[in-house]
Symmetry: C2
Subunit: 596 residues, 2 copies
């Protein structure tokens, strides 16, 4: 079925939760107010609904294929990418200096969601280019920037991230690819990289690989890793493409989902060495790669929201159409569309509440990113930076884990038809499963949340967020409607559970690392659940205000009901999770290895 | 990877939770004590590990295919089915009168688990034959029994269940297939049936279809449905196969999982009418079909346990082998197998606890089934019948829903490799998703739990079970170890949550059906969680007793840790679910249809 961008909900978040008007006060974003957001999102919706969404199922049926080192993408992808590039979508958030549109992430994130709802396999190509652009912007030499950035920003070329090797997945200390310095300042790169998304394809003239490798003699471990640009085709001084570089696609993976997206094994240096250019300084590669990864982690979180939205839309359409059985309340005397059955509503409301909650969380995080990078006041930048960094593992970890549940419910709503591939619901279920794995598994996100984001500052950022949530509870109680008060009660219980866990984590990470890391993923899930639920609570306050003003009553009532559902059905999980984390750590690691 | 039957755990359950010695006191089961159980399970393990497990991945790669009405199953399946039949496995639980072995379900269920762990797609064929056999045993005429039963029990022929039609999935009132009475007492059957598992295949000489259809002039709705036997090949008086009957496979589905199992669209009567024989009386078809379905629902619950076990075994093997990163507690100074990481242990423990808990629940339910059918004392039969009937939706609904989480964790433990089809973990994830759908979706199980199993007797059976659980809590507190007391605390909280929900359900089903059915699936999940956790608590008591006696210390310690994990990490979900069900019903159905 075709995708319909949830423009109203996106714009509600951008306006009321992310406060676009405040973003538009930041120098450089003066033009990026609500009206711009609306215009960009509407245009973006047209493109994704019209061009990319119709290609999604085709990508599943006719995945990318490899023949003699050449990857042919799904029919229609190449032309769609041309349109994507010509529409300027690749440059949306990138600096105008290099041909981008310089829009804030607050707007860009919503566009990213549309792209991924319409066609997640396609969207991965621009997603990786974004990462490459950010790494070059931050650490690339002026020369590298001059040669590569404009072409990447325009979508004429695409970018990749080359981290993983057969023995080095989450553990980058084990990277073995090597780079030998050459007299002319370039390097010769050798090694095998796996799981390289769009590592080879036919949608752009050139591919700019960003590759982690060790310079001969570098220290062991992650402190000896450097970052290189290795183009597929060499680039002449005139910007024209020259000879083929010594990097080759030797196979692509046969995956459960995102089949249209070619996942390449790349072989570097089999014929004398691939010519590479160092990015920044030697041995600081991991640091630069984290720039790409942080950008990509947020974007993968948005992928979770995007596929959840799509699964929801498809399930709603089916539930309104499929006629089976009479409603239990006797309101209809004949077999009725299944959306009349309470359990089908429960499934749809669960899908909806998760999706809207995570969208709110991502939107607010995006606004913090914009302020952290561009606000004139250093203190404001710092606060927003801390908030954003706390949000990244939640956006990535929680939104992707929830997408597994939502896409599973999506199949379930379809009943037996959901299991038949032609229906299309199964594709979302299969596609989604990669999201909790790539760009750092949920456990890796949780390590980040525990280590860098909670223990390091003694739980200070976490507690500051808890303080903001407490203020929302007070506002809800002050508002005083039955829904607001009920939501405040659940929010309070979840926030108190969160604070308990933060104390447990901050207090024990050094002394009892096993106990803390035994609960790291549950902590992430609790935190994500809380923050998404908090955004729903904030949305409820706005909706009640707007409703009182008579603005868009149907939408506002639905928002209130969805917020209430989030509180009563999802936030209610939090206290039990606290018990598991704080009181149930020992039994996680108690079993002898031989007993498994 | 190859499957290794968890014989020790199965026999622990059969001996200590299901009390096989009590089952063996029932007339007819005198030979079916622990020693028999052990001997049968060991033999069964050999067959499934050696013959069926190696074919599982092949079935995913080379699914059944249809050409000119003929279905060719996966290479190796036909021969494996021959071995299955020759080994007497089809007749395990069926009466000796018809060539079966007459063993109790307490033993048969464990064999069913093995079969499904080894090869779920294959196992579906015998599973459906079991249903056909039970329906004929209960309602078939002596003539039908004489012609069909022995051949089905021996595995020479196989059986199918034909319920679903394009417009009639969960809603059997909408069945349109029709049967015209013929002067000779037979019927001519016409109609289209979809989703017919092993509706056509090449593994047996004949296929015995059990088909729901309406006799001309029958009442509308479910009270006008009759059940027919329609053989693929006519059977002569001498038992020899005759002409092809007018039932034909016109297509098979392209599914997300269980690909080796052909899911047929069957066309009845395109050439004058398929000859059918009525089972029992006209218009009582649904009643008889429920016999097949109840048997099949329990069996599908066991499929959930089976695939969870397989996913767990595969994840453990990978986690012990895959080396990535150093343990957070510094216990190993180099990169270590990932099983050393607390979050990997958490995932494996979750998989293990769910699987063992549900296995315990299924084992206890099987013993109740045996007593309910065969115990000489009518009161004992009645009590066990009530208990078993309460368990069926839990075994089916909870064990299959948990299998989705467990197979998802199985992929997650594998990281990126899990998403690659060649690894095999993805197959379990894809295969499992059908389990919450077929033989009645989770919502259908929940309707059964709410309506027939809870409201009808005013919550009496549910409260009786709660009373038994309370007794286990007392025993745990009396035992007094830290683990026992901790488990008792979680069990008490979960049991109290359950009782609250039972009161809510029993008290409101008639007056506020929307409110009750809005929480029907959460109620099922809470009840299943509680009962499985209760079995883990009972297992802990046994294990501490055995440990004190010095019996199999490693196994008993692992059981205690797993029970503790179940309590602290899974039972802790119960109170939050109570809140959602009892206090959060209204928002489930509040949203206007147009707002979706």
């Amino acid at each position: 079925m075709s995708y319909k961008a949830p423009l109203k909900d996106m714009l509600f978040d951008i306006q009321h939760l992310a406060n676009i008007d405040q973003v538009a006060q930041i120098p450089g974003f003066e033009e990026a107010g609500f009206d711009t957001a609306q215009a960009v999102l509407e245009e973006c919706a047209k493109f994704n609904e019209g061009v990319l969404s119709p290609l999604n199922r085709e990508g599943d049926i006719n995945p990318s294929s490899l023949k003699a080192g050449v990857v042919t993408t799904t029919p229609g992808f190449k032309d769609a990418f041309k349109q994507y590039a010509e529409g300027g979508w690749q440059g949306l958030q990138h600096p105008t200096d290099f041909g981008g549109q310089g829009l804030p992430k607050t707007i860009g994130a919503a566009c990213g969601e549309m792209l991924n709802s319409a066609n997640m396999s396609f969207a991965l190509c621009p997603l990786l280019s974004d990462g490459a652009i950010e790494a070059l912007l931050t650490a690339g030499s002026d020369e590298l920037k001059a040669v590569y950035l404009e072409k990447l920003v325009s979508g004429q070329w695409t970018g990749t991230m080359n981290l993983t090797e057969p023995q080095a997945g989450s553990d980058l200390a084990m990277v073995r690819s090597r780079a030998e310095p050459q007299p002319d300042g370039t390097y010769k790169v050798f090694g095998t990289k796996i799981f390289i998304t769009y590592g080879e394809h036919d949608m752009a003239e050139n591919i700019v690989h960003l590759v982690l490798a060790r310079v001969s003699g570098a220290p062991e471990g992650v402190k000896g890793i450097s970052l290189f640009v290795v183009p597929k085709f060499m680039v002449g001084k005139d910007g024209k493409l020259g000879a083929r570089n010594d990097v080759h696609c030797v196979s692509i993976e046969h995956k459960m989902g995102i089949k249209a997206s070619p996942t390449a094994v790349l072989q570097y240096g089999d014929n004398g060495g691939a010519i590479g250019y160092i990015v920044g300084e030697e041995n600081r590669g991991l640091e630069y790669m984290f720039i790409m990864m942080n950008s990509a982690r947020y974007a993968v979180g948005v992928q979770g929201i995007a596929i959840a939205e799509m699964a929801y839309q498809k399930a709603v359409t089916f539930a309104k159409d499929r006629v089976q059985s009479r409603p239990v309340d006797g309101s209809i005397k004949a077999s009725a569309p299944i959306i009349h059955h309470p359990d089908v509503k429960r499934m749809l409301m669960t899908m909806r509440a998760y999706t809207e909650g995570c969208r709110g969380m991502a939107s607010v995080a995006a606004a913090a990113y914009d302020a952290s990078h561009h606000h004139p006041d250093a203190e404001v930048r710092k606060q927003n930076q801390a908030f954003y960094e706390f949000m990244v593992p939640l956006v990535k970890g929680y939104s992707t884990e929830m997408s597994l549940e939502v896409t599973s419910l999506g199949v379930q709503v379809h009943g037996g038809m959901g299991f038949i591939e032609e229906t299309g619901a199964a594709q979302y279920y299969r596609d989604a499963k990669i999201l909790t794995i790539y760009e750092g598994t949920t456990a890796i996100q949780a390590n980040d949340l525990v280590g860098r984001k909670t223990s390091r500052d003694g739980g200070q950022t976490a507690k500051a967020i808890a303080g903001q949530i407490q203020a929302t509870e007070a506002a809800l109680n002050k508002q005083g409607s039955a829904d607001a008060v009920a939501v405040a009660k659940r929010l309070k219980a979840a926030r108190e559970a969160f604070v308990d866990v933060v104390d447990f984590v901050a207090g024990n990470t050094k002394a009892s690392p096993n106990a803390v890391f035994a609960g790291s993923v549950p902590y992430l899930m609790l935190a994500g659940n809380l923050v998404a639920g908090w955004q729903m609570a904030r949305a409820l306050l706005v909706a009640q205000e707007q409703l009182a003003k008579g603005v868009d009553a149907d939408f506002m009532k639905a928002k209130i009901t969805t917020a209430r559902f989030y509180a009563d059905h999802l936030l209610t999980k939090a206290p039990g999770m606290r018990d598991s984390i704080v009181e149930g750590a020992d039994c996680v690691t108690a079993l002898a290895l031989e007993a498994f």
